[in-house]
Symmetry: C2
Subunit: 338 residues, 2 copies
DNA sequence: CTGAAAGCGCTTACAG
DNA sequence: CTGAAAGCGCTTACAG
């Protein structure tokens, strides 16, 4: 009737399987068969359904499919950062692998390590996708990992494996400790009296890069200077670099990542200290730019993308349909022929 | 019976709202009220429900909620890359904004610009989340954008707005053209006879950075050299840089991004050409490292994160519940008092 | 080859 | 304040 004001909703409601069924003059189950490529549909029926699908612009609802199937093909990664090289490269590896497996990838950034914020992110992620990967290279990630309910499939990329109050966790890590020790020994082998360390933020005193560095120094009987650094980025490296540049006894510096190394190099340059003439610098990660610094950077290459892929496959193993193995039960009804 | 082999599914089925209801001795609607914080529930009832929730480890299914509500609070971004600075920073802006709005963020990388691959990614994204942001700074992104059905809410970050066969599209862009022109004029103003350009991959001959550069040269009556470059990364810059270094007439170089500029600087350095003494170099983007190069890089700062946030809010406007405005229909039943 | 029934886990009215 | 009913859009058996 003309007396009612008409309300135009901006977006027409999407066609459902039943709308298609009606348009094609079949049941909705038949539509389901067609869109799922079941072979048991008469050619003519299929064509009518397809025509209706086309005409109505039907798109099947992924959430309805997920509900009906009782599972989501989604995975979310919880990470403190997406732009720093290491994090971004791990993410890239995860993305490649999950895409190859046909899973959707959600990402949720942990902006702070404040308890309630982290908890909110974890809970959102948990009921959003049922499977998680957390990149726990910082406090926020470590916090997040502790809050994941035991029955949620998950994998954690960690600095170093550790006992988490006795719970077994699916950790993944690289042997940064050995790498840091090797880099330190290399510098020592070059004749440096000792090696200074500009750290990425330490999760614990025994963070693997720091630990490897310290171990190598102790092994060699070299003095162990106080580590510097309080950040991940170039600026933090630059600031640490200025302190080091002011100390003429400093001749070798190991850095927790390549960004820090760039900052140190810049600070040394400003202070007029030649690299590598007067001061040697080593980075960590081998970001794609590092080979093009001036001077090009000696560094430790880490296969972050490979690590990301490994995270995914470990997770995938957890969520894959368990193969129910049939067992032969041997009782009394069988025996060798007489 | 003992004759059947028993099959243990590895993961116990999660508790539903009905399981909780049964455990608490109420209806499932009441459970729904409690978990949604409805006030109209008796204290005692609420407590029993909460206890059951706790005991059963109940977690509400986001997909069921989405189905019942008829909408997904999810958004997926389609992008050709996640690690290059520009892409990563846009992504970061989108992530911040969508997290603030309580929406889930999925990401799907377009690995190639091959038609079927892109189509698959778009379709997956469409029925996965119903709302899309595409970063169309490369061919894959441009392809993807063309395949998005008209009725799917979406926003596209583009190099430059263009008519897409007449369809109006929700584009977002920055004025790179003006910025490139300004940078070029700055170099010209320094006294350089002309400015060479190392391009990021060109979408069209009139890609805005290239166009701005060319315009500024023409304006000034300066010769317009052939642009170089065939990639996004430092290596591509390095290779272009070697060609430029071999040409003694080259004194100023504008680069399509900071990574390219780093490569050019490295190549110039190797060729013994001083920067900025003999050759001036300008980048684009202002990545966080660029201020710490040696020499520190003159560049064009772009607010990628802001652009990402803008993408989100434009999208959010599209998917927000349309406010249905009531209209006063004036007919014959009303008039001024006698 | 095709349809009627039941269910996935929730929410939204509607009656008490 | 609380429950019975219907529905969101699909899928999985089960009968023809």
């Amino acid at each position: 009737m003309d007396v009612t004001g008409h309300t135009t909703s901006s977006r027409p409601k999407a066609a459902s399987i039943r709308d298609v069924a009606k348009a094609a003059g079949v049941s909705h189950q038949t539509v389901s068969r067609v869109i799922n490529g079941s072979s048991k549909v008469k050619e003519a029926t299929r064509d009518r359904v397809l025509a209706a699908v086309e005409e109505l612009g039907f798109r099947r609802s992924a959430t309805a499919v997920a509900l009906a199937h009782g599972r989501t093909r989604a995975l979310t990664v919880l990470t403190g950062n997406t732009t720093l090289y290491g994090y971004a490269a791990v993410l890239q590896g995860i993305e490649e692998a999950s895409r190859a497996a046909g899973m959707s990838l959600a990402i949720s950034v942990l902006e702070s390590d404040e308890e309630t914020a982290v908890r909110a992110a974890v809970e959102h992620a948990v009921d959003d996708s049922g499977a998680l990967i957390v990149i726990a290279y910082d406090k926020a990630g470590v916090q997040a990992q502790r809050m994941i309910p035991e029955d949620v499939p998950h994998v954690v990329a960690v600095e170093t494996p550790a006992d988490d109050e006795g719970r077994q966790r699916p950790w993944i890590w690289t042997d940064d400790r050995a790498a840091a020790a090797e880099a330190t020994r290399y510098l020592l082998g070059l004749g440096h009296r000792t090696v200074h360390y500009v750290a990425i933020p330490l999760l614990t005193e025994s963070s693997p890069r720091a630990a490897g560095w310290r171990t190598a120094l102790l092994e060699a009987g070299a003095p162990v200077p106080e580590p510097l650094g309080d950040g991940w980025d170039t600026k933090a490296g630059y600031e640490a670099g200025r302190m080091l540049a002011a100390d003429p006894s400093v001749t070798a510096v190991l850095c927790g990542n390549d960004d820090l190394a760039l900052g140190v190099i810049r600070a040394m340059h400003e202070a007029g200290r030649a690299i590598p003439g007067e001061v040697s610098v080593i980075g960590f990660d081998d970001a794609p730019q590092s080979a093009y610094f001036t001077p090009s950077l000696t560094t430790v290459r880490l296969d972050f993308a490979g690590l990301g892929r490994a995270c995914f496959s470990l997770l995938h193993d957890q969520i894959a349909e368990p193969v129910i193995a049939p067992h032969l039960i041997i009782r009394e009804s069988t025996g060798s022929p007489a």
